[in-house]
């Protein structure tokens, strides 16, 4: 397993290299640069040149890339041109914020969606099944920025139960931190439940067809025991892989939800940094996001044998 993990990590290096080249090139292809943004309509040629020089943008792009790469290898992701903070600190701090929200949301989604999906599969084609399928499809198709605003208006404004905006880190104050997370998490949960229910239903249907389910019934087990002890774990495998993909994608930041609920997370940092042409931050973030994605999927693969002992981490 160790060997598998290390091989996978090694094989991620070329991928990460491609990511860095792509990010570096892509962001420099975008018109506009941080110098002109800082100067706004005051810009003239001299001022721009001077600002670019202090930002290190006067060098040819390949040279900039090599300098950056050299620093990255030594663990230095550079500093933000926007506010001079070390990119690594910035990324880690923002990631922690996004991650706690995403992990809670995905965790809850799984807890809700998997039983629903299983119930739908168990009563395939029944009223319950049709309702669950239709509802999950509907949830899937409401844009999160819209859903988020509705939730904000309902719980924050109309009912006044929850703070409309602001953010407190769970680390600083666990109770308050959780309260601020309720609405963003709810938004994410409603969306992800839609996706996971469909997968859980499909994989449960596959499993329910198999003989060991009949075998379990033949042993005299009750329906709930059959579903819980025999179907659940085996049906969870494909869902688990999907969860990995969802996590990998969401941990890169949920820019929209973070914008709606004023959460200072990684997604908003990336979007803001793209808008601000904060090259070092965009590069650092996307490299980090790619690494996270690869790591999450590695962890998912390493844990897969828990749900299906036939699969060994090879």
């Amino acid at each position: 397993m160790l060997k598998f993990a290390s091989t996978r990590l090694l094989s991620a290096i070329p991928t990460l290299f491609i990511v860095s080249v792509a990010v570096f090139g892509l962001i420099r292809l975008i018109p506009g640069d941080p110098a002109s943004l800082m100067l706004g309509d005051l810009a003239d040629a001299d001022a721009l040149a001077a600002a670019r020089k202090t930002m290190g943008l006067d060098q040819p792009v390949p040279v900039q890339f090599l300098i950056w790469l050299g620093n990255v290898v030594q663990g230095d992701l550079g500093r933000s041109v926007l506010n001079g903070q070390p990119v690594l600190d910035l990324v880690l701090h923002r990631f922690a914020t996004s991650a706690q929200m995403v992990l809670i949301a995905v965790g809850l989604s799984v807890l809700i969606a998997v039983p629903l999906g299983m119930a739908a599969a168990w009563r395939q084609n029944g009223g319950l099944d049709l309702t669950i399928v239709a509802l999950s499809t509907l949830l899937l198709s409401v844009p999160t920025f819209w859903l988020g605003l509705m939730i904000l208006l309902a719980f924050g404004l109309k009912l006044g139960w929850l703070p409309v905006l602001g953010y407190v880190s769970i680390a600083d104050n666990p109770v308050a931190g959780l309260i601020y997370l309720v609405m963003p998490v709810l938004t994410l949960v409603l969306h992800e439940v839609g996706i996971i229910v469909r997968m859980a239903r499909a994989s449960t249907l596959d499993v329910l067809r198999l003989d060991y389910i009949t075998h379990a019934r033949a042993k005299g087990m009750s329906e709930s025991a059959v579903l819980l002890h025999h179907a659940a774990r085996n049906a969870f495998g494909p869902t688990w892989t999907l969860i990995g993909l969802i996590l990998g994608n969401l941990l890169g930041g949920v820019a929209v939800v973070e914008t709606v609920f004023t959460i200072p997370g990684l997604g908003r940092l990336i979007v803001d940094s793209i808008y601000a042409r904060d090259y070092a931050v965009v590069q650092g973030c996307l490299l980090f996001v790619a690494l996270t994605y690869l790591l999450v999927n590695l962890v998912v693969d390493l844990l897969y044998p828990l749900f299906d002992p036939r699969v060994t981490a090879e």
Binding site: P31, G32, A43, T54, L162, P163, G166, D272
Partner: protein
């Protein structure tokens, strides 16, 4: 149900006590759409940063309500006969936030450090590349500072007071770390720079030892009474969320609101809308070197097709005042001459188009989504141009990309806002120049450039008035771009807030009260 409801409330309110920012001290909570770039005034800044930092720092002089220069840290000043030496006498007993009393030596050190900093955003105002060069800054005694220039410069004090220059604010040595890097501002303003959580917001605290001067608030000068314990800025990028926050009481002031949003809140009694035009320009720029737009008849055709008052009315939801002159509507120089503007005359368009030899070529209007005014202007203008037979299309760019196009001059028509220019001369200076030297220049005319320079060096108001009248006539004749209105900043304050006003687009928090 009601029991559980009240339990929930009890639970939440006990939590609320624990929440920072909801503590009992009187706190004014203010939206900012983006985090500040740095806490170092004049260096690494943008308009939002200036707006926050100018509550913390002060310069020797400040801009007054109408753009005139007022004393701030300087009690008064004198200019030598040759116009090259400025002698400032600083006020007694002004305290820095760390409790130390400000001396002339502090001023010398601070100005020297800022003006010579290669990253100073107003470097070109003071190094001779635009106007005069600052030769020396000397503290001649404990209370006197002398600044000498290489040539006379009528705008020098204006530059000193500019917000983008951080009002050339005076900071204490303790603002820097031992290695010379920036730490945090230790300045003289009415608010002390407090806790800054990057990406979330920051807190300014009342400065108890602030030395009050003047008798009433006057722009960035005058009397500054702090009536709250602290101002808490929260980064809320989404307008709809911010409005919800205002309604729920989580936010007290939204200093910058799209006019459309403000218009909706206008009729609700709880909210106070503050709208004030400033010296900025709301425009649609023409690229006069473009094959199509270089034709004056074409530009006149476009202008004739636009019902500019209707556009202004619509994009500002009735809050803005149409103004086709670069002399801002609030300016002393805005006389009846400057009320003469464009004539909406769709019937005249076909003739003008024919004269211009227009054959239905596509014209692209660039705009962005960051400014609701730019965006709406482009949409309405496009519809008006289309119906007048001009084949206009819209391209929406992300703001930085549009700025890049602006700076390189690569566009046909562009909806664009200039930031606040306090003096009409500065407004003309911004748009006039040589495209060869500076591609983001809009109006490239040597005679006009000479006139603009003259206006900047002229101190006599009557002579200046004549120059501005002449410039406006030429502006209408040459139509280098469409001037729609002056910049408009709309803010809103919540039910508990008293005394919040907006001025020149800045959010100042002295003189603002919050009732509990």
């Amino acid at each position: 149900m009601s029991l559980s409801r009240s339990l929930l409330h009890a639970c939440l309110s006990s939590v609320a006590l624990a929440l920072p920012g909801l503590a009992m001290a009187s706190t004014l909570t203010v939206q900012i759409t983006a985090d500040i770039r740095s806490s170092q005034p004049g260096i690494n800044r943008d308009a939002g940063t200036d707006s926050v930092m100018l509550n913390v720092v002060e310069g020797l002089v400040a801009a007054g309500e109408k753009g005139e220069i007022r004393p701030m840290l300087a009690k008064d000043w004198s200019v030598s006969a040759d116009g090259k030496a400025y002698t400032f006498t600083i006020r007694d007993g002004v305290k820095f936030h760390n409790g130390e009393t400000m001396t002339a030596a502090d001023v010398e050190w601070s100005l020297e450090k800022l003006i010579r900093d290669p990253e100073f955003s107003c470097k070109t105002f003071f190094d001779g590349s635009r106007d005069a060069k600052v030769e020396t800054i000397k503290a001649t005694d404990d209370r006197t500072v002398v600044i000498t220039l290489d040539r006379p410069d009528a705008m020098f004090l204006n530059y000193m007071a500019q917000a983008q220059c951080g009002s050339t604010g005076i900071v204490h040595r303790a603002s820097f770390n031992g290695d010379g890097s920036w730490k945090a501002p230790v300045a003289t303003g009415p608010f002390v720079f407090g806790d800054w959580k990057r990406g979330e917001g920051l807190v300014l605290k009342k400065f108890a030892d602030y030395s009050i001067t003047g008798d009433k608030p006057d722009g960035y000068g005058g009397r500054k009474d702090v009536l709250v314990d602290q101002v808490k800025y929260m980064v809320v990028p989404d307008t709809a969320t911010a409005v919800a926050g205002l309604r729920s009481g989580a936010l007290d002031v939204l200093p910058y609101l799209p006019p459309g949003e403000a218009a909706k809140l206008k009729d609700e009694k709880d909210f106070t809308i503050v709208a004030a035009p400033h010296g900025g320009l709301v425009t649609m720029l023409f690229q006069t070197t473009d094959t199509l737009m270089s034709n004056v008849a074409m530009r006149h055709a476009v202008i004739a097709a636009l019902d500019t008052p209707a556009i202004v009315d619509s994009v500002t939801y009735g809050l803005g005042i149409p103004n086709n002159s670069l002399v801002s509507s609030g300016s002393l120089y805005h006389t009846a001459t400057h009320d003469k503007g464009y004539v909406y005359d769709p019937q005249a368009v076909p003739a003008l188009l024919q004269k211009a030899g227009y054959k239905g070529e596509k014209i692209v209007i660039l705009t962005n989504r960051r400014s609701a005014i730019n965006y709406d202007t482009a949409i309405i203008a496009q519809a008006m141009l289309q119906s007048a037979g001009i084949n206009a299309e819209i391209e929406v760019l992300e703001w930085a990309s549009q700025l890049d196009r602006f700076n390189s001059g690569k566009y046909q028509i562009m909806a664009f806002n200039y930031s606040n220019r306090t003096d009409p001369g500065l407004a003309y200076q911004t748009v006039v120049g040589s495209k060869a030297k500076k591609p983001n220049t809009v109006w490239d005319d040597a005679d006009v450039a000479a006139l603009v320079n003259k206006s900047l060096q002229e101190a006599d108001p009557e002579k200046r008035q004549a120059i501005f009248d002449d410039l406006h006539a030429r502006f209408l004749d040459q139509a280098p771009f469409v001037m729609l209105a002056n910049g408009l900043d709309v803010g809103v304050s919540g039910p508990k807030v008293r005394g919040y006003r907006t001025w020149q687009g800045f959010a100042r928090f002295w003189g603002v009260e919050r009732s509990e």
